[in-house]
Symmetry: C2
């Protein structure tokens, strides 16, 4: 039975990427070695690391004023590395709280400086993106979470600010075109839209670094990794390679404009069914609905176990909703084929609680 | 032509491990998904993470007073995480400087407390392991680098101390039995004896943690990861899986006693040829010679380019010595077959500088 992987992350990768990724484990480009045992100082690895950096810049339309890093430790490590590198002890950082990941990012700031939470949708289980808040003039930076995996909300317009704009884009990076040059720093764990677990993409405007007095451990200073092209120490070679394969795939799709069209088509199809189907309803505010993570519940909670069984019996995995929202969550990242969304929608159409329960 | 991979790291992995690792990328244990796209919260991944932790403890004979963590950031991140978690601002840590990695570890301590370097072999290009130094009574811990990849030296007896004993074992972990219970903390980047680049093994005696006042970022506190079995955030699933495959392979070899016998046989063969062959000489002090990394040079430097060409022409890769030592370095980690060492030794025997130059 074909599996349809709707997992929120680590998540589906393009079938072509997986095929090439397996080949590289067996014998990397006919070098006669597995990529798993090749030195990060080899010509082959150094070459593809550079290609990956260049592809990130090219897909996002960024120039050499930005550095592209492949680090480790997940977005969770960026939660403290951002203030550690950018926020002076007496300075203030502004955050918008749109979910569990925002909240975790906010929690790490006080070790380094002051934090001001401008707005939060926590009281309504983060089912919308706050807007219309004022950004304090003294804010060193404004931090947002562009897409909220658990709650299925997404910024469709980014805030305008004179402060440095910083975003955790773990769950929607490369899903559509946007003006990346408005951002001073973007970070993203790879395991949703970019690759397997094990590397974290950081895109940083170089001129914002080196401005504070704090003594930073070598490995935690972005400048260390910029100077050495992400190879100050041994980088996670294989996860980065799989990201490169995905970046090449994104480019071959026609770049972010083409990817956006496909993502919109998938999201439209699924939301239309949620809104039409008498058994289901969406949980996120209409105008903030995510194109990446689509949470929905049964109007009658007693039907949920039956629909979950129905999904499982038909090869659909990863659709269980996060415990804080309940119900279901279909993650339809870049790599998710339209056909799999169609398949899920068919199941929703055919769902008869009284028959399958 | 068969390749013989003598790289210092990322390094050779057992052929059987590579085969299973490639299969998991295509279809993990017939689940119908690639392991690269499977959730770290899936039953399958959670199960093998536990198996990996248990195998580490079992191979080292450790009990539940120790925690086994699979983190990221390399040994280089442990250089600061160790003092950050263990050293109070007014406390002193003792270090022995046996090479470039020791020196980098020492450099990170002053952000957190005092550091005392008890001994160093730097003046003789780190060609021996210092002994006979006094360990100050007030030392919170003593940090050593058990094997020095670049210089080919290795502790064959560990220091006796009442201080907490901490070791960077990146390049000789699991290469032989030792009394692991003498150590309070052991860390090792995976990419030499354990797996591919992308995860770092940390073995820590739990009672030493939580004793200092410092506020530590969540992701940098060992206790965060202990509480969540290395899955507080998304761990590097695939690199950890390949480590597990290697751990299973180590156990199937007969455990560390059997691995030691094989490693000794390989090292003895290679060192015997270095000592016998009129064209070569070793660079490390005899009593401190590493069983893992074997550096040697040509007595006549003019012969070195010729021997390097001869190696390359015969499918041997990764034997170029580090620039600080020069000449050659054959890394013969656990996964290196005896036959490949024999092959290298044959080349050394057949080497006639005047013919191949």
């Amino acid at each position: 039975m074909k599996k349809h992987n709707f997992s929120a992350g680590p998540a589906i990768l393009p079938a072509a990427v997986i095929e090439e990724a397996a080949q590289a484990v067996t014998n990397y480009e006919n070098v006669g070695l597995s990529l798993l045992e090749m030195s990060h100082r080899s010509k082959e690895v150094a070459t593809f690391m550079t290609e990956a950096e260049e592809l990130v810049k090219s897909l996002l339309g960024l120039g050499d004023d930005y550095a592209v890093l492949f680090l480790t430790g997940g977005a969770s490590s960026q939660f403290y590395m951002v203030p550690m590198n950018l926020l002076g002890e007496n300075e203030t950082a502004a955050y918008v709280d749109t979910g569990a990941w925002s909240a975790k990012a906010i929690k790490e700031v006080s070790n380094f400086g002051n934090v001001e939470v401008l707005a939060s949708s926590k009281e309504t289980t983060y089912n919308y993106i706050p807007k219309g808040y004022e950004i304090p003039r003294n804010a060193k930076y404004l931090h947002i979470t562009s897409n909220n995996t658990i709650y299925g909300t997404q910024y469709h317009d980014y805030p305008e600010t004179d402060a440095l704009l910083i975003a955790d884009m773990s769950s929607d990076i490369f899903s559509r075109p946007f003006d990346a040059s408005k951002f001073a720093l973007i970070y993203a764990g790879a395991q949703k839209n970019l690759g397997p677990a094990g590397t974290t993409l950081v895109i940083v405007r170089k001129d914002i670094l080196g401005k504070i007095e704090r003594s930073i451990p070598t490995m935690l200073d972005y400048q260390t990794h910029i100077k050495k092209n992400s190879a100050f120490n041994t980088p996670p070679v294989y996860p980065i390679y799989v990201c490169l394969l995905t970046l090449r795939w994104l480019q071959a799709q026609g770049g972010l404009k083409a990817v956006e069209a496909k993502n919109k088509k998938k999201a439209d199809l699924l939301y239309a069914e949620i809104d039409r189907n008498p058994f289901f309803e969406g949980t996120a505010a209409l105008e903030d609905r995510s194109w990446m993570n689509v949470p929905f519940v049964c109007k009658n909670k007693d039907h949920e176990a039956a629909f979950m069984d129905y999904c499982t019996a038909n090869g659909i995995s990863g659709v269980k909703g996060h415990r804080s929202v309940g119900g279901f969550r279909a993650s339809i990242y870049n790599a998710m084929p339209y056909e799999s969304v169609e398949f899920l929608v068919e199941l929703m159409k055919n769902f008869k609680p009284e028959l399958v329960a």
